[in-house]
Amino acid sequence: MIIPEYSLGLLVAFAAMGVAFFAMMRETDGFHRLLLTDLIEVVSLAFIALIGTDLAEALILPGLVVGTSELIALSEIYRIKEGYTRPPDAGLQIEVMESAPGILAALLVVYGIVLSGFSGGVVAGLGVLFYLLCRGHDERFELIETASGYSWALWIVAFFIFMILPQYWFFAVMLSGSAILVKVMAKMSLIGTMRGGPNA
Amino acid sequence: MKRTTITYGLAASALVIVAAWAALAASLIPLWAAETAMVIAFPVLVLFLGLWWRAPGGEEDIPFIGY
């Protein structure tokens, strides 16, 4: 099971862990400590990645999700505790960002729908993200989250069809493909709306 | 709580305990089932017994905050 390079990689990971913890110990500023925790998260992902099998890939994803959500939660706490409530100014003043978003986003979304599934969701989500980033939008978390939630439920339904009614596999494939497309797209587009507007 | 509610609660918990005890003695149910029934019913019995024979209740008040 143990590949020869494993112990070498482990050594490096332990060294990185030492560096990260040392930095964490030295740092006193709250914000910098928050940034350093991300360094530590990455080392923990490295520990998993060192396993070097398909399993590692499957394990990294939840680890990454947990780490990211903790980071988001903590930065939200930091923001409130320090009283940073002012929404940021309008973004960059670049001409392309005024004219291009519509057509670029449309292209990406259409291509994403053609691809469908997980990777299609990423491409289409990138389009939506880019659009929202350039044109600006209120934070409408709940709306987007609802769409994502429903599509997740459809995805699960598709799995049940696979298990219970295998003869309708084609329908289930299409259902799960489009549901995961919508879900990933919705999740990614959330990033584009994060600018401290009314969060409804 | 109303007096009748308390009486019913007391009766119910006592009944559960007696039933579990009798069923165990007659080896109708395994030991763990009787124990589970006791663990659930005994605390209820203790509290309802107290509530059943307690003195009349008073007005609710704010907690004690110092001498």
Partner: protein, 217 residues
């Protein structure tokens, strides 16, 4: 099968990922369930505080929106704890534990009070740093033994390195730091007993479970 917590009562298998309950874990599971029910059913209390420098006192109120959020977080915390109690897969266990950590941060962070937020922030950083030993421990176990199933590890024949066990225990202690922050009393200055109790209960339960796991594997 590990027999340290009694003979297994129930095993649920999904391929090589499984859930199992021994008398020990079922006790913990039921207690988590009861307290989750209490968190759902009870309304927050109104803490009495004495105004400094006089005889006056006042009762802190919890707003409805704050109560809703914290109740939601307490329920999430309870569900994560329930998962951690029954999981027979080491990685699932670590995920549930880190979920408990996040939910704990959420429970306290909803209180809009500077001191409480400061404490929650500090605790959050500890909880986040603790994911390193937590996931690292699980990764070391799977790298050296090739399996994550606790019953398989308990059956013997594997040499689980001591450092992996230490990492697991350290990670859980880090995620369950909430009660130790009680020494600062900031986190408990927040009213809302049913939710605050979920914090310390979940920390305690994951700690109790990891002790079983570390002795078993």
């Amino acid at each position: 099968m590990p027999d340290i917590g009694g003979d297994p009562l129930f095993v649920l298998e999904f391929g090589d990922i499984l859930h199992y309950y021994t008398p020990y874990t079922i006790t913990l599971f039921l207690l988590a369930l009861i307290f989750t029910g209490l968190a759902i059913a009870s309304r927050p209390e109104r803490q009495i505080d004495i105004a400094f420098g006089g005889d006056a006192y006042y009762a802190k109120e919890t707003t409805v929106s704050e109560m809703r959020f914290r109740r939601f977080m307490a329920i999430a915390c309870g569900l994560a704890t329930l998962g951690a109690m029954g999981s027979g897969d080491l990685f699932n266990f670590t995920l549930f534990v880190s979920l408990v950590g996040i939910a704990n941060i959420g429970i306290v962070a909803a209180v809009k009070n500077r001191h409480v937020l400061d404490a929650a922030y500090e605790y959050g950083i500890v909880a986040m740093v603790a994911t390193l030993p937590l996931f690292g421990g699980a990764a070391l176990v799977v790298a050296t033994t090739g399996t994550l199933a606790i019953p398989a590890l308990a059956a013997g024949g594997f040499a689980v390195p001591l450092v992996a066990k230490a990492f697991l225990a350290l990670g859980v202690i880090g995620e369950g730091m909430a009660p130790f922050y009680a020494a600062k009393a900031e986190m408990f200055r927040a009213p809302g007993a049913p939710y605050v109790i979920m914090c310390s209960l979940s920390s305690l339960l994951i700690f109790l479970r990891v002790v079983e796991i570390v002795i078993t594997i």
